[in-house]
Assembly symmetry: C5
Homo-oligomer: 372 residues x 5
């Protein structure tokens, strides 16, 4: 039924020797949609648009707010350059945002910090998506960059709108934490799906094992490997943030990040566990294939070994050694006297039956009828 | 007989983007039973109930005592919140107590410490249970949270009642140690059971090896992997406690914890040893399957190779080449003269016999009758 | 089609006990071509030649410039010694330049630094090339040594000519970075090629799997291993440069090197991913071979097991037990009465048909017609 | 012949929740035999007995001596408690002495040090023994505890009696070193035995490989794993002793311990080497099994493929298509005319021979007669 | 042709409990040959002999020289003891020199340093030799101990005689470096030989793969493992020397040792590469064996499956169902009417032919004639 699509790795498309800091838009990038959420303890002001103007307007309108600028889609070099110029972002950072093959990392700059996470999930076509999520955090400002137009942060936005908890008051660092933690939460969703799939495969292993099991298990294993390659640097990233003394990361945010760190470790634990299960499934499957072969060979061997001697005996008595020479009419009583015994046929059948029974007994004794 | 049930991993049920610190009760949680043990050098006062009142009553009654509040079952958000409020516990701690997928850990807070262990054991249905055991230790107070209503600390309670050793005088830290050490002791019980099971499987390997061996061994291996994933952070946890200078962990407790640390290392050692045995069993089993196949093929080949030429010879003498043309009555002496030799049949049988004997000798020389 | 050539490792040719610092030219070395690029913010002066003279002339002509001396080909002991003498380079450095089996490394000397990278790429004949690229950086001077005459730095030269970015102003350290980063960029090209090849192999796995898959995958794996053995010390090398406080490595260059370091990590990540894919392909291939064997055996067994008993029955009725003794004419009604029943043949055929149908049903029930 | 017994792991027998420091005697413990060796530069006084009295007597008699109290057998709770009380030993130490599943370790206490080694050897029944050897070293006193009554330190006693070297003068620390080093020496004996066994197995691999090879190799591997699990903490233990500044460990003793450390490393090296050999033997054995299967299949295939068509031809000419209808006497010359050709039989035999020769040539060309 | 001999590991022959520092000569040790090379900037004086006298004579004669005393062969306890006494060497060092199973190491003593290297090479009989090379370096003196009489340092002696480079002036530390580096150079020779052998094995893999491939590859792998076990401590040893501030190791020597360190790393790199190749060869070989088996099975199955039904049909028409009862002469037209059809034989042959063609087409469609 729901077979997993082949999991592929992508390499970055980058020319050899390109100038560092050059903004190169990926081929299949989408046009950006910009949403600005300006909030303080009292109110939440939102705006949506497609260029720098909407951001600047909001800045002018909400002077006393924290701003979350959510940019979905990266296919706009000019926007990137404008943001870089207006907010004084290093070109190497802008390059990292658009060259969407970064590992999770946390870089500190003079008055802002840059961090990268990865969004890993199965889309509707059951294909594994592996997208980059980058954030720039400045005083009172967080800009997030996503590759797709999909909605991944509905819960965060609901909490923001509902004015729940620290989200309105704890600054852009907390928002950065909230977004990262939401992404780690999706890893649990992914792992739950993988766990269900492994359960299904294991059920199939004992009912209708066919050779797609190997393929499906390998695809799941590959997914786990991708996820593991993400979570290790993700954990290091959180650790880096926990250890920094940058004022953008407050003590309150660190307490929550400690929680996110624990989640990250739990994800890594689950990944290792699931990897062990995939290996166990593969071992069981290969053992089953081997046993299946054994069983096939046993059936072939039992039938062959029982009938080959019997057929040989039948062949013997099918020989045409003549009792009487048709030419000279000489009698030759030594030639196949059994054929001319009144009960030769019956004796032959009985003899064959006894032989067959003996063989069956031998096989029984050897334990070939029990299942290895 | 006592086949091990399939060992499964559970993922936490948590919504993406949920607020940190939200207390979410697991689906299959039980209603809490609260037992309070208040003790000092002289007396032990116990009480049992279902809500905060019983705790507060006991506090009021026993002002000069150390209190162990044992809470079995987590399905009571209100109780959790009451405890959090009354004892001033961080919501993140309460979340960790109810989200029962934590790894063993030790967190220090201002005036209390929080630690998590895992209870791993086979229940009566031979299913592997993996439950969380959390403790909060404050001055003169330890609260333990368990997921099940089962009795795991009978020995500790007996020592407490019998006023044995340091348990009455060494404070809540010692009680925390005693509970943790009891949990580590159950790992030895689990490992003894696994060891026995491995012994049984190995015995079967040489008597009635069937394909459930592979399945059972994989299940044991999976159990070992779960246990290993628990003992590593458990060891780290104990190490963290040994290194802390928190006054809740006295030097006396540390001396005993050093002993628990040694036990933890012994558990890890046994796990590694048993993992090696499972691998060895799997290798031996696969080698046996392979040898079994070899043996089957040898039987088939020996029988086939001996009888195929004999059957061919019988087939030759079963051909109907005519010595006399029935139409023209022309004699054709070149056609199968053997059939008309007076002792042709006997010679043919002798020839077949010699051929068979030669083949048997060849196989003998090749060592096919000895066991590879 | 484009099968990968066998990937080989070369050992250095060096006599046992040779004096350290001896310059030994590799057997297949090429005659050197020297190109000198002298540049400052305003102009770029180039010259080309084959001996030290061209370098000295350029030094005399361009006193205010940074010089990049690109030497392609190493087969000129005199040139090496001249450079060593003129620039006061340690003989051990010169030995390392010509003994082209160095791992990537960074060595600091009094007034110059020496670094080695490796150029790994597939040439036109699809053979893996693994060449050494060494650079000596002094104040205002960088000398690069390559093994081949091929052009690997066209993009850098274009940027130099086009006066793009920091390349003209940031000194020889930046040029050294630019060349190293270009080499790391070629690793991405190599990995993209390997990725495509793995994709092709995986497609073949499901369409026309033949035994070259194993060979091709092993060659790719070997390429990945070579690349991995290069990137680890390459990363360490960059790390060493980042940590040095040598004035030849300016803060500006370090910022860019940090970027190169990230690229190096990405290369290592991709290598690990591709290694996992090769393992997954090998596992899938071996599983397919095993399944193929199973299928072959099933066909053989089904056909054999169905026909062997039928053939035996035919053999029974092909026996010549006589109903009438040709000599005495005695009738023997017990001998094969079936043969003399008016419908014996039809009954026999029907019996055989029923037997065959039963066997087919048995196999069906055993699931042998579905694919394992 | 001398097959190795199955190597088993033992788990400790300890009740869940037992009080720490409780002395629990193992089930199969032996009654203790106490030997006291009191020595100084001039004389050696020995005594033997079964209780504390013999020790106290010796203490009273030899005031100026170093005492080595050798206790073989642990089944005497009273003796343990007496020693604990008299020498002021921590109950946790006494628990560790009788709970004989400790890993090698070195613990320092106020005025004594406690260390554990493991004695690993094959006994006369070729079973692997894994016993605990514990020592307590105080000023002028060393007490050693062994599980068995066997004599393992004859050489040490001979050196003590012969007044050789530092053993008489260098204090109880040196005696502790001498005993530990003797135990490490027995590891070399064990490894020499394993090496010989591996040699024998490898010889068998090329002469009369049977399936016990797999079993024996797995047992040796398991022994190596046990030994490895012992030597790692043993090395750590020696390292701990080398690093301590406890006055009980003098500089002179440390110099010798450095030597013991080297021996320990050599043991670890040998273990790794032998593990590689066991893996190599297993690989070779599995490859041989696979080749053996291949050879069997080739013999079956060659014989079958040659004779199956020949038998078919014989079957063809064994068909009974009638040349003359026995009822109507109609001649049917198209039915099997070959049978009525004067030389049909000879031609048929020649044809069969040619067919067989062609097949043999095809197999020859395919290289089936050479060994894969 | 040049098959590699079985690679064996030797264990030391040492009695359990022997006194530390006891000089024990290995069983197969050779009588020592002593050569003394006394040199300074101006002259080189050599002498040769068999006992301490030759050394003392040379010391007396050459007071202003550096002395290299080369001792080949260790079977002379008295010589060892004399050297120990005269030069005041610790007995543990002398024990290490004669107990030739030391790992490479570097030990510092008051006024001398002791280091061990291992000489690994194939001798003329293609057996792997693994001998110990020990050196003691004092002020103006280096003593080297070798196990064999073979000449391994001809190049060093030539450089010494030719007065080349630093060898005459840089003291005994440089000589120690020169000898060690020469030994590392022989590892390259060994690896080149292994590389050639691997190349040859890989060529055979594609031409005349037989089962010795597995054996030869395993022997090479074992050689690589031995070499790896040597190079790791060798690297550590060099590192120890580089880090020491012992005046016997001058800054000049350290510069050269840095070079030797790089060589050691290159050796380790090559070893890892070659180990990967051996694994790749083993994988390819096993895959080929598996494919070969598949091919054999396909041939057997195709031939069997085609002919089994045909033979059955021939068997059908070889049955003797009677058209006329020989006793009653009753006609039975239902019995095998095909046999009495005028063209029955031809039709039967045509039918068989069609059946065979259909089967060939089915196999073709299944792709059984293409190579998996």
């Amino acid at each position: 039924m729901s077979h997993i699509k082949r999991v592929r790795y992508r390499t970055r498309k980058h020319e050899v020797g390109d100038q560092p800091g050059a903004i190169i838009i990926p081929e299949d990038a989408l046009k950006p949609i910009i949403a600005v959420y300006s909030y303080n303890e009292k109110e939440l002001v939102t705006a949506e648009g497609h260029d720098l103007k909407i951001i600047l307007d909001q800045f002018a309108k909400c002077k006393d707010h924290t701003h979350w600028i959510q940019i979905k889609g990266l296919d706009d070099i000019k926007l990137m350059e404008d943001i870089g110029t207006y907010l004084k972002i290093n070109p190497l950072v802008l390059e990292d945002i658009t060259n969407t093959h970064q590992r999770p990392k946390f870089d500190e700059y003079d008055d802002y910090v840059f961090s990268v996470s990865r969004q890993i999930y199965f889309n509707e076509e059951n294909e594994l998506c592996n997208h980059q999520f980058s954030t720039i955090v400045k005083a009172n400002l967080i800009i997030s960059f996503e590759e797709t137009h999909g909605e991944h942060f509905a819960a965060v936005k609901a909490r923001l709108a509902g004015s729940k908890g620290a989200i309105r008051t704890a600054g852009p660092g907390y928002m950065c934490y909230a977004l990262s933690d939401t992404i780690i939460d999706t890893y649990f969703v992914l792992l739950a799906k993988i766990g269900d799939e492994l359960d299904r495969i294991e059920d199939r292993l004992y009912t209708d094992a066919d050779k797609t099991i190997m393929y499906d298990t390998q695809q799941l294993k590959r997914t786990l490997i991708i996820l593991r390659r993400i979570t290790w640097p993700e954990r290091d990233k959180i650790n880096d943030i926990l250890r920094t003394d940058n004022p953008l990361v407050t003590a309150e945010v660190k307490m929550f990040l400690h929680d996110a760190y624990d989640h990250c470790i739990q994800v890594m634990d689950l990944i290792e566990n699931y990897k062990e299960i995939t290996n166990s499934i593969i071992d069981l499957y290969l053992s089953m294939v081997s046993n299946r072969m054994n069983e096939i060979m046993k059936v072939l061997t039992i039938i062959s070994v029982i009938f080959i001697p019997l057929t040989f005996i039948a062949g013997i008595y099918g020989m045409n050694f003549a009792r009487v020479d048709p030419v000279t009419n000489k009698q030759m009583p030594d030639n196949m006297p059994e054929l001319y015994s009144p009960h030769g046929y019956v004796y032959a059948l009985i003899g064959m039956g006894i032989l067959a029974v003996i063989q069956v007994i031998v096989f029984w004794k050897k334990g070939w009828f029990t299942k290895l």
